[in-house]
């Protein structure tokens, strides 16, 4: 695909490093003003997490192992969510991200249906932050009203800030300069974020690993999120 920007943001998730601790989920929630849901909402399938850790049990007792798969918006190159939105609330930005304009969203939920990764969450409930949690809301991220769709943005506010800094210095963003909250928080450094358009970036080098795969690759969505798992020399 032709790039109109020097950046193509992507992420590499090493599943062999993921411990399933859930720190990324919490970090994302704090950074992006993700609504707090109670037990009832989650039981109804209306949780608001932008990033979820899928847990699978492998093997038979007593040889049972837990497998974890962190799933966030895959920021697809050919995103199924984008063409179906009748109002362009879901659109492709020049950095290859799937943008979501909350103010424009009318809530047809078509994008949510068409997302094969089911990472789009809809504000079924009007969400409130009880005092003093409202003081913790990030001023860089809009609080979404009920009736709109939202999803992981790769912490676009951080990318914006890094871009402004870089522009002030008259340079491009350096590798590792910008990290989304989840990658920043991951204690085992399973999540690596970077510019895939730069072949020397850490993320781009990891994405060339023979252990790489992408979720539901057969659908041709060309996700920007790569997973690493087993198979190679460092099979653990």
């Amino acid at each position: 695909m032709k790039l109109t920007s020097p950046y193509k943001w992507g992420m590499v998730i090493d599943l062999d490093r993921c411990t399933g601790c859930g720190a990324c989920v919490v970090a994302c929630q704090a950074e992006n003003n993700v609504a707090i849901c109670d037990e009832k909402e989650i039981a109804e399938g209306r949780s608001m997490h932008w990033l979820r850790i899928e847990r699978f049990w492998v093997g038979e007792y007593p040889e049972v192992r837990a497998r974890f798969l962190p799933v966030l918006c895959q920021q697809c190159g050919d995103a199924p969510c984008e063409p179906v939105c009748p109002v362009y609330a879901s659109y492709h930005n020049p950095d290859g991200l799937n943008g979501q304009v909350y103010n424009r969203c009318v809530g047809t939920r078509y994008c949510g249906n068409n997302c094969p990764y089911a990472v789009r969450v809809f504000n079924f409930y009007p969400h409130r932050w009880p005092e003093p949690l409202d003081n913790q809301l990030s001023p860089d991220v809009s609080v979404r009203p009920r009736g709109v769709m939202e999803k992981c943005t790769f912490c676009i506010q951080r990318i914006r800030r890094a871009k402004e800094d870089a522009k002030a210095d008259g340079r491009q963003i350096r590798d590792g300069e910008v990290r989304p909250a989840c990658a920043q928080t991951c204690p085992s450094e399973a999540l690596v974020f970077g510019n895939l358009a730069d072949p020397q970036s850490r993320a781009a080098r990891l994405a060339r690993s023979p252990r790489r795969f992408r979720l539901l690759e057969g659908l041709g969505t060309h996700p920007s999120v790569y997973y690493l798992k087993g198979g190679g020399r460092e099979n653990v």
Binding site: G45, R46, V106, P116, G147
Partner: protein
């Protein structure tokens, strides 16, 4: 007509066929009141949803579309009857169509109106629905014409306009008859609507040309509308939806439910307005044959859809089908019985086709089956999408059920109001046929024949 008509005066004929326009009885008021209450409750439910949030529905992730979209597809399907039936029969010069025309065409207009409301009811933020309309604005924002939802909106608006014109055009001479027979405000109303129709030869020529043209033009519109509704599903990557058979399959399904609904309405109108002389068993016989053919087509399309999926056995698609057949077995069986087994078995027999009771059961069950069909297309596919970790289920809430009930009541209310205000039987069409009908002697038998061309 195979039954020899009793000769009646023009006055008597007009009177009988316009019987629905007589002053309403207390029973009519009671019915209208009852329907009004159901509609009012649906409005309350919808307002409640709008004021509190979409959580009052049964929707969740992954099942983000539910009863509202099922209703939308169902009502668009129903709307296919009228115009399709009446225009196909008009173009094929089937003279038995004449008494059915108006009921079918009016049904189209009201069902498509009801259908058009559902995508708006279903929006998360209904109050900004106008974002979907391409209107010039200062911010230079434009809707996304790549989205199937926008195709939908365009198709439905076109169909509402087209079918209303079709209904109105066919009604012109009847409005003139009604105008000449009424007094007071009705006379004024019909006078304006009849647009000064006098019934001159030139007017009739133009009228016939226009009706034929409209009939020919409305068929592609009707086919495209339901193809586009099918594309809402077929152009996605959702397993079970992404299927090339969907557009023709949806069109066939739409005509099946539409024709069945016309038959149901014919039975009700016949009973309510005592039109036994005009809606004869012959009409039900012919409509039954039409229904039989379409039911066979539907069965074929359904078979093809399941057969290709079964043969390919793609894991996720097959998972959707097995989940559907496992969780919704009774519904699935009822659908197959209502849409295919019962109509094919019953409508093969002339005696059953001519029995009003049998036709009522068959036509009602077809629409029950078609509602289930839409449910089984939409819900199981969304419940079991590609990521097994977020599989879910769906159960409609009281809000969605109330709005659905209100849709049925609202349609019935619009229809009863229409029947009270406008001629329900195409008076001039029927009378035109009677005038043309003469008896010819062939050998020793006197046979009814139709003189002149349609």
């Amino acid at each position: 007509m195979s039954e020899k008509p009793v000769v009646k005066s023009a006055e008597q004929l007009n009177d009988e066929m316009l019987s629905s326009l007589r002053a309403p009885t207390w029973r009519w008021y009671l019915l209208a009141f009852f329907l009004g209450v159901v509609v009012a409750f649906g409005l309350y439910a919808f307002t409640h949803q709008m004021l509190t949030g979409m959580y009052v529905t049964g929707l969740s992730r992954p099942v983000m579309w539910g009863f509202y979209i099922i209703n939308f597809v169902f009502w668009v399907g129903l709307s296919h009857s009228g115009t399709m039936v009446s225009s196909i029969l008009r173009l094929s010069q089937a003279n038995w169509r004449r008494p059915i025309l108006r009921a079918a065409e009016a049904m189209t207009v009201f069902t498509i109106t009801v259908a058009g409301l559902f995508p708006l009811i279903h929006l998360g933020r209904n109050w900004i629905f106008y974002y979907l309309i391409p209107y010039p604005n200062q911010r230079g924002l434009w809707p996304n014409f790549r989205s199937a939802l926008l195709w939908d909106m365009t198709a439905i608006v076109t169909y509402i306009i087209g079918s209303s014109l079709f209904l109105y055009l066919g009604m012109l001479p009847d409005l003139a008859v009604a105008r000449d027979r009424s007094r007071g405000w009705r006379r004024k109303l019909y006078g304006v609507l009849a647009m000064g129709w006098r019934g001159t030869a030139r007017e009739w020529t133009v009228f016939h040309q226009a009706s034929t043209l409209m009939a020919a033009l409305i068929i592609p519109v009707a086919v495209s509308v339901h193809s586009i509704v099918a594309w809402d599903f077929a152009v996605t990557v959702v397993p079970g939806w992404h299927s090339t058979i969907f557009p023709p399959y949806f069109v066939i399904g739409a005509i099946l439910s539409g024709v069945a609904a016309v038959i149901t309405l014919m039975i009700i109108i016949r009973k309510a307005f005592h039109l036994e002389a005009y809606l004869t068993p012959m009409h039900f016989d012919n409509m039954g044959k039409l229904l039989l053919v379409i039911s066979l087509l539907w069965t074929y399309a359904y078979f093809v859809e399941v057969q290709t999926t079964w043969y390919a056995h793609e894991p996720i698609e097959w998972e959707v089908f097995s989940f559907m057949a496992g969780k919704y077995t009774p519904a699935l069986l009822l659908m197959l019985f209502g849409n295919s087994l019962l109509p094919i078995a019953a409508l093969c027999f002339r005696r059953l086709r001519r029995s009003i009771g049998v036709m009522l059961v068959v036509s009602l069950l077809i629409n029950v089956g078609m509602f289930i069909e839409r449910f089984l297309i939409i819900v199981p596919s969304l419940s079991h999408k590609n990521m097994p970790f977020v599989w879910g289920t769906y159960r409609p809430s009281w809000v969605e059920i109330s709005v659905t009930a209100a849709a049925f009541a609202g349609f019935a209310l619009l229809y009863t109001l229409f029947a009270k205000c406008f001629p329900m039987v195409a008076v001039t069409d029927v009378r035109e046929l009677e005038v043309r009908e003469t008896e010819v002697t062939m050998g020793r038998a006197d046979l009814p024949s139709i003189a002149g061309k349609d």
